[in-house]
């Protein structure tokens, strides 16, 4: 049995695990990402975590021979470098991620963006398993995704492929004006269908300014009587479903995996999303399975491992 380490390197924490070629996770661990200290410090801390896990695996007779990493940021998977990253991880842009870990650990290393790693994990062992093509779309802090074809995510010419939150949504308007989007433009799916966008819609629809976040908006909606909460979740879910339906027509995936916090936010969001999705589909695509992600937090970790197991 072959063993590798998979790493899920995010803005706040870094999880890693020793993954066998059958997908089982032998041992895992987690550290805070040193997101204020720059690339070298992050690589140092990550290498320590990986080294620790390799030693634990060795105690069980498992020899690790490679490392796969799914990282936040736009990642050049061919060169193993961080093309760009937000201020959530200061000094991450420009880091030679793969080479830096190889230097510290003496093992070959492959890298991909963490959303692609997440989708790879679900495609290999989770809700997307069993078909050659799977589309994952995550609705959370932002809206992102990845289209996996024969075990390979479509990375794109500039490694920017999968930004499925940044196309126009008819729902992303208010009083005739396009809602601003995190990308600097306006009127995109993310501007109405992300988690934070639902909170913003709630406030725009006259909800109480004392409601602090999206979680609270969902609490109010579950109570059943808050019109602004129901409307905000409704429009976000409709925009999400319409967007995913359009993506299905464009890409024709074998299965669609919905991930992110909103995928598990309950019946109201899911059924509204699913209904809107079905209203978009071309006739031959009417029966495409649309399912929740099933691996939870280990998806990106095992997906990253699959990079070096394939």
């Amino acid at each position: 049995m072959r063993y590798v380490v998979g790493v899920d390197l995010g803005g706040t924490k870094t999880a890693a695990g020793v993954v066998a070629e059958d997908g089982s996770v032998l041992v895992q661990g987690e550290i805070p990402t040193k997101n204020r200290d720059g690339g070298a410090a992050i690589l140092d801390a990550t290498a320590v975590l990986v080294h620790f896990l390799i030693e634990r695996a060795a105690e069980q007779g498992a020899v690790v021979d490679a490392v796969g990493v799914g990282s936040a940021g736009v990642i050049n998977a061919a060169e193993g470098t961080v093309i760009s990253a937000t201020d959530a991880i200061l000094g991450w842009t420009g880091t030679h991620l793969a080479a830096g870990l190889t230097q510290r650990l003496g093992l070959p290393c492959a890298v991909v963006n963490d959303v692609h790693a997440h989708a790879l994990g679900e495609a290999w062992l989770g809700a997307g398993a069993g078909t050659a093509t799977s589309l994952m779309v995550a609705f959370g802090t932002g809206v992102g995704g990845s289209f996996v074809v024969d075990g390979q995510p479509l990375l794109g010419h500039h490694f920017v492929g999968g930004h499925v939150g940044h196309f126009a949504s008819p729902y992303a308007y208010h009083d005739g004006a396009a809602l601003p989007c995190s990308c600097g433009h306006a009127g995109h799916v993310e501007a109405i269908a992300s988690g934070p966008a639902i909170h913003e819609s709630y406030l725009r629809f006259g909800g109480s300014p004392s409601v602090p976040d999206t979680r609270e908006v969902f609490e109010l909606a579950r109570g059943g009587g808050d019109a602004a909460a129901l409307a905000a979740i409704g429009v976000g879910a409709k925009a999400a479903g319409q967007a995913v339906g359009g993506l299905i027509n464009i890409l024709d995936p074998g299965v669609v995996v919905i991930s992110g916090g909103l995928a598990n936010a309950g019946h109201l969001w899911w059924t509204t999303m699913d209904l809107a999705l079905r209203q978009e589909l071309l006739a031959p695509l009417a029966s495409v399975p649309v399912v929740r992600a099933s691996l939870g937090n280990t998806a990106a970790l095992v997906g990253a491992a699959s990079l070096v197991l394939a």
Copy 2:
């Protein structure tokens, strides 16, 4: 030098040519598609055309060893069959296209949908050449496209991939109601950005009922004084550009090839489309080349040939 026959089988005519492995076309011909006579009659006529071309090529010492076909309809490229087709070709649905031609000609045959063949041709020899990933979007009678990765179009799980005209457009609304789309749903890009949609917009915007078609709408706009014509072309072009911009964010192609009648309808459509497109792009994608298709009518023919040359 290897030689194959490429066939572009459309609703009204069938073009074919003998294509060398360097992409040069040795000899070509065209017949009306027997679109009222059913699958067997179409295969018979196509085989006669191909046989005629093979004989002309033999006179020049070229031996043809395979046939590639780009056909109208939803095509199962793995089995070489017609999954479905519109009434534009009666009796085409269910036809064993590849096997039927192989039986008639004694040569191996591969088949793909004609839009994918078109994109393959542009990716090989035309405006999409020189990069690993190209997105073609055609704006004509309908809106369709194909994403070619390493010489392979993304066909999709049901061979429906590339239906890029069927996702939501904020422009595909009138008085708050979504415009009906050819697919049976409403509010899609094709419902506002196709050629016929521009004529419909012109009429909706108060244009003269005596103007018979989109070509005439463009004539009026070139005159400069017809407000309804300018508005109809403007909204169609904006919807087209916004849609392509979103597709670029999703797919991150190395080059975008715009095809179909509207791509060559002049400065007004193109500049409006291109401006709307640029307003959608994520920052790292700002410099993506967006170019007109360059092969004209031979694109699908050489693209079909590339199926069996690869």
